[in-house]
C-alpha cells in the first residue's frame, strides 16, 4: 500500500472553501446561539413557571437528542410543518443555533448561580436600581465565569458543524468526503480533513485551559 499525500494538495482550494463554509456557519451559530443561551439561562431562573418550564423543556430536548436527529428533523420536517421550502443553509443554521442555545444556556445558568447571595444583598444595601445590579454587578461576573466553558462550547459546535455534511451542505467534511470518493484515496484525504479540524480545535482547547486557570486565579484573588 503506497500513500500519496501530494494528491490532497491538488484539491487545496476546494478544501479551503469547505473550511471557510464551516467557519462561517460556526461563527453565525455561535453568536446567535450564545445570545439565545443567555436569554434562556435567565429564563430558567425566572419566577413564573410559564417561563421556567418551557425554557427547561427546550434545553432538555436539545441536550437529550442526538444533534444528527435534530438536523434531520429541521431539514425534512420543518419545511412540512411551516408549509414552505426553506433553503438548506437556513435549516442548518436554525438547528445548530438551537443546539448551541441549549448548551450555552446551561453554561450561563451555572455562572449566574455562582454569584453569591451576599452580592445581591450588598446591591440592595447600596440602594442600586435593578438595572444597575444586572448590568454592572451580575453580568460582568457571570460572563467572566462563563467565558472558559463558553469557549469550549464553541469548540463543540465547531466539531458538530461537520454533521451538516450529512444533509448535503458543502462544508469541510462534505468536500473532503467528495474528494475521497472521487479519487478513491480515503486514507490521505480523510486524514488531512481530520488534521485540519484538529489544527483548529486543539489550540482553542489550550486557550480554554489557560483562560480557565487565569479566571480561577482572578476570582480567588
Amino acid at each position: 500500500m503506497t500513500f500519496d499525500f501530494a494528491i490532497v494538495l491538488r484539491f487545496k482550494e476546494a478544501l479551503l472553501l469547505g473550511l471557510w463554509t464551516t467557519l462561517q456557519l460556526t461563527v453565525i451559530c455561535v453568536v446567535l446561539g450564545s445570545l439565545l443561551g443567555f436569554l434562556v439561562g435567565m429564563a430558567r431562573s425566572a419566577n413564573s413557571p410559564f417561563v421556567r418550564v418551557p425554557a427547561r423543556a427546550y434545553v432538555e430536548v436539545f441536550r437529550g437528542t442526538p444533534v444528527i436527529v435534530q438536523l434531520f428533523w429541521f431539514f425534512f420536517c420543518l419545511p412540512l410543518v411551516i408549509g414552505t421550502e426553506i433553503p438548506n443553509i437556513v435549516a442548518g443554521i436554525i438547528a445548530l443555533t438551537l443546539y448551541m442555545g441549549a448548551i450555552t444556556s446551561e453554561t450561563f445558568r451555572a455562572s449566574l448561580k455562582s454569584i453569591s447571595r451576599e452580592q445581591y444583598d450588598a446591591c440592595t444595601a447600596l440602594g442600586l436600581p435593578h438595572a444597575t445590579q444586572v448590568v454592572h454587578v451580575v453580568l460582568p461576573q457571570a460572563l467572566l465565569r462563563a467565558a472558559p466553558t463558553l469557549l469550549s462550547n464553541c469548540v463543540s459546535l465547531f466539531k458538530e458543524s461537520a454533521l451538516l455534511s450529512a444533509v448535503g451542505m458543502a462544508d469541510l467534511m462534505f468536500i473532503g468526503q467528495n474528494i475521497s470518493n472521487n479519487t478513491a484515496r480515503p486514507v490521505e484525504v480523510l486524514t488531512v480533513v481530520a488534521l485540519i479540524y484538529f489544527a483548529i480545535a486543539f489550540p482553542l482547547t489550550r486557550v480554554v485551559t489557560r483562560f480557565e486557570s487565569r479566571v480561577l486565579a482572578k476570582l480567588s484573588a
Binding site: P66, V69, W73, L80, V81, V155, K159, M173, P186
Partner: protein, 222 residues
C-alpha cells in the same frame, strides 16, 4: 399549518424501530465497556513518568477530543480496512470507533479524578508497603471511579447520542431505521419525531437518575 398527521405509519412499524434501538443499545453498551476500561488505562499512561508514553497517550486523547466524531467514524470505516488490510463487520467497527472516542473523553475524566486523590492516601499506601499494582487497583481506581462517576455516565449518554452517527455509514441502528422508514412511508415528521423521542426518553431518564444519585452521594453533605 394544514398537515394531516398520521402516526399509523410509525405505530405499525415499531418492530423496525425496536430492531434499530437494539443495535443502538448494543453499540452504546459495548462502546461504554471499551471506554470505561481503556479510558482508565489511558489516563494512567497520561500520568506516566516516561516522557514518550505520556506524550503519545496525550496525543491520542487530544486527537479524539479535537476532531468531529463523524470524521472519526468515517475515517475508521473507510481507512482502517485499507491501512490494515482487514475486513471488520460494521457493528464491530462502530464499537471500535465509538469506543475509542469515549476512551479519550473518559481518560480526561479519570485523569482529573486521579490527580485529586489526596497526597496522604499515596503516602499511606507507601507506608503500608503497597506495590505499584496494588496501589493502582486498591487506592487509585476506587477513588478515581467514585470521583469521576458523574462525568463517566454523562460521557456514556453522550456516546449513546453519538452512536446515531453510524447510521451514516449504513449500520442499521435506530437512526438508520428511522431514516429508511421516513423515506418508505413518506412520513418524515412522524418518524423523526418518534426517533427523537426515543433517544430523548432514554437519555433523559438516565441523566435524571445520575443527577439524583450524584446529589444523594455528594461527598460534601450540606
Amino acid at each position: 399549518m394544514d398537515y394531516a398527521f398520521d402516526f399509523y405509519s410509525v405505530l405499525s412499524n415499531t418492530d423496525v424501530l425496536i430492531d434499530g434501538l437494539l443495535v443502538t443499545l448494543e453499540l452504546t453498551v459495548a462502546a461504554n465497556v471499551v471506554g470505561l476500561v481503556l479510558g482508565f488505562g489511558v489516563a494512567l499512561l497520561t500520568t506516566s513518568s516516561i516522557f514518550p508514553v505520556r506524550v503519545l497517550s496525550m496525543l491520542f486523547v487530544e486527537f479524539f477530543r479535537c476532531t468531529p466524531a463523524i470524521v472519526q467514524i468515517i475515517w475508521f470505516f473507510y481507512c482502517v480496512p485499507i491501512l490494515f488490510d482487514v475486513y471488520i463487520d460494521s457493528i464491530t467497527m462502530g464499537i471500535v470507533a465509538l469506543g475509542l472516542n469515549l476512551t479519550a473523553f473518559n481518560a480526561e475524566a479519570y485523569r482529573a479524578s486521579i490527580q485529586s486523590v489526596a497526597r496522604e492516601q499515596m503516602d499511606a499506601s507507601v507506608a503500608l508497603g503497597f506495590g505499584p499494582v496494588q496501589r493502582t487497583l486498591y487506592i487509585i481506581l476506587p477513588n478515581a471511579l467514585r470521583l469521576s462517576l458523574p462525568v463517566l455516565v454523562t460521557n456514556g449518554i453522550g456516546t449513546f447520542q453519538q452512536s446515531a452517527l453510524v447510521a451514516l455509514v449504513a449500520v442499521q441502528d435506530l437512526m438508520y431505521a428511522g431514516k429508511s422508514l421516513a423515506t418508505q412511508t413518506y412520513r418524515p415528521i412522524e418518524t423523526f419525531t418518534a426517533v427523537a423521542l426515543i433517544y430523548f426518553v432514554i437519555s433523559f431518564v438516565v441523566a435524571q437518575c445520575v443527577e439524583f444519585a450524584a446529589r444523594r452521594y455528594e461527598p460534601t453533605s450540606r
